[in-house]
């Protein structure tokens, strides 16, 4: 059984953000990047399935710059079997629809994929839509926003607990299906030394836009349906104050503040 895990290489949230003064786009050069936290959970869930079923083939799929190989190598070190990186200068500025189209084309090129798992959202663009859009391009059903997922290889289904407003749904889908996962009950494993050494021997196949049968005008900013109009700073917050002193004193001041701002 072949599972594809989609992972994104994102700027580390801990890094201070620096913006290009004119375009106000994020300066990514020289910024530490990491695996998108939610994709790390997705990968961990899939690797737990592989712990139970070593025959499960886990393929990591990423669309990104060459530097994304760092994230891919970490995923391979954790236990994924091989990887595919779609990288091409023409992809810069792609919106989520283009990303999904590209990843769906890569999944079709990989072939014989039974299941696709991805993080529910990315920490940088945060749309929640790339996973579902991939399912749409593949014509597959989906189980999104899962907080856990169980795979039944013999009966070919995935069962997911998904959080909706005010409830948890238990949903099941027969394969092929696309699943998006958020934080699960366990933290992502760290790669072992043995895993890191083994990763160096695992295959990372690189694909270009042309390899996927797409043209430059269909991808990147040119192929995207949304464009950035402008960026701006949020409305200035009310000025800051600090209260120190005995508990009675500070709460008195706080309540006074809340009342004067008409918050209570």
């Amino acid at each position: 059984m072949r599972v594809v895990v989609c992972v994104k290489h994102v700027p580390d949230t801990n890094e201070p953000k620096r913006y290009h003064p004119e375009t106000k786009t994020l300066i990514r050069d020289g910024v530490q990047s990491i695996i998108n936290p939610m994709d790390d959970y997705a990968l961990e869930q899939v690797l737990q399935w592989k712990d139970a079923q070593p025959d499960l083939e886990v393929v990591v799929l990423t669309m990104g710059p060459e530097a994304a190989k760092d994230t891919i190598k970490k995923a391979l070190a954790k236990g994924a079997d091989r990887a595919v990186l779609v990288t091409d200068p023409a992809l810069a500025g792609s919106d989520f629809q283009v990303v999904a189209r590209v990843l769906a084309a890569a999944i079709q090129k990989i072939g014989d994929v039974d299941l696709v798992v991805a993080g529910v959202r990315s920490s940088d663009s945060d749309t929640y839509q790339t996973g579902p859009a991939i399912a749409e391009y593949l014509g597959w059903p989906q189980l999104t926003q899962g907080k856990s997922a169980q795979l039944n290889v013999g009966e070919r289904y995935v069962q997911v607990e998904r959080e909706v407003e005010g409830a948890v749904e238990i949903v099941r889908g027969t394969l092929p299906v696309l699943v998006t996962i958020g934080k699960i009950g366990t933290e992502p494993r760290l790669p072992s030394f043995k895993g890191i050494m083994a990763a160096n021997k695992k295959e990372i196949q690189t694909l270009s836009v042309a390899d996927l049968g797409l043209s430059p005008s269909e991808v990147g900013a040119a192929g995207s349906k949304t464009r950035l109009v402008r960026v701006f700073d949020p409305e200035a917050r009310p000025a800051s104050v600090t209260f120190t002193g005995a508990a009675g004193e500070v709460t008195n001041k706080l309540v006074g503040y809340l009342q004067s701002e008409k918050l209570i």
């Binding site: 949230t13 953000k17 579902p132 859009a133 349906k225 949020p234 209260f243």
Partner: protein, 332 residues
């Protein structure tokens, strides 16, 4: 057929419209007025037609009702296919959904299916010569982006609480159109085996005007009654930092932050939370941030409007008393 109308996807629960639906109507109403086009609500479900009058009362001009027994429960494929069918027959100029579990599930697929441009989690919407300007906060709200699309429908998912519902106009008239739902539209390749409802909480985190949140500085799960009592006194929802969720003190459903929920209440009270950036990105767009921490240099104290240097164990009980007095109208 040309694209026309400002369309919203209504959501229901417990035989009523969800608050986010009324907010979508408010957002859509001003867009419809500017364009001089109708505001249309898509209402899916089983025996939901009576809710049309409430949609009219809160701003809709027309309601397209799609009734089918299989639509009684919100289900991914049946909802996606039915809504897509309606919009393929009636191309929309603008389409709005809530940034809710349903919106996160189907908006992207609708955009691909209909060929539209989608921006998610929008907090402001306006028109510039017929082009929808969609404002969406990024990096935890420290920067705002405005995007637009030349594709139609122009789509957005709207952040809960970003728009206030309009004043109700009971008896306001509108047109109901029934859309025939075929069995083919409501087929599903996935099945819901069970739905476990959360214990009835007073207020959901993403709907709350005020949130009281606790972190490791609260000392332990045994002290959480302080958070709950303060939340009750303020009429607030309560949340938690990742540290206390990972420590098993509180459930993940309460977690605010990068791997939890993003909230933007009017007031966020952070109790014993240091303010790691992964937490800040989940609550930074709160209008007022109040932080209680023994460490004046904790990162949260730098972003707070009111930084209280103190011990939560002493400050919170005192605060609960004073808030109760204010609410009771007594002099403080």
């Amino acid at each position: 057929m040309s694209h026309t109308g400002v369309w919203i996807v209504a959501e229901t629960g417990d035989n009523d419209l969800k608050p986010t639906t009324l907010e979508l109507l408010a957002a859509g109403r001003s867009l419809a007025d500017t364009l001089g086009q109708p505001l249309v609500a898509i209402l899916l479900g089983h025996e939901v037609t009576p809710l049309a009058s409430k949609l009219f009362a809160y701003g809709a001009d027309k309601v397209v009702v799609a009734e089918h027994a299989a639509l009684q429960q919100v289900r991914s494929e049946p909802y996606l296919e039915t809504i897509a069918a309606i919009l393929q027959q009636n191309p929309a100029e603008i389409l709005l959904l809530g940034h809710t579990a349903l919106g996160k599930d189907i908006a992207g697929r609708l955009a691909v299916r209909l060929g539209g441009g989608l921006t998610t989690d929008c907090t402001q919407l306006s028109l510039d010569g017929g082009e929808l300007q969609k404002v969406h906060p990024v990096f935890g709200g420290s920067l705002m982006t405005c995007t637009a699309s030349s594709a139609r429908p122009q789509m957005a998912t709207v952040r809960p609480k970003a728009f206030a519902r309009l004043a109700e106009q009971p008896g306001r008239a509108g047109e109901v159109v029934n859309f025939p739902v075929t069995d083919a539209m409501v087929q599903s390749r996935t099945a819901v085996l069970d739905v476990v409802r959360e214990a009835a909480k007073k207020i959901a985190l993403t709907d709350a005007e005020i949130i009281v949140s606790g972190g490791r500085g609260m000392g332990g799960p045994e002290n959480w009654h302080l958070i709950e009592n303060l939340a009750n006194a303020l009429g607030a929802a309560h949340g938690a930092s990742r540290a206390v969720v990972d420590a098993g003190w509180r459930p993940h459903s309460e977690q605010v932050g990068q791997t939890g929920k993003t909230v933007s209440p009017k007031v966020y009270v952070a109790c014993g939370i240091s303010g790691a950036i992964q937490h800040l990105v989940g609550m930074r767009s709160s209008k007022y941030i109040i932080a209680i921490n023994t460490d004046p240099e904790a990162p949260i104290m730098k972003v707070a409007n009111v930084a209280i240097v103190g011990d939560v164990m002493q400050v919170i009980p005192q605060l609960i008393e004073e808030v109760k007095k204010v609410k009771a109208g007594a002099p403080v």
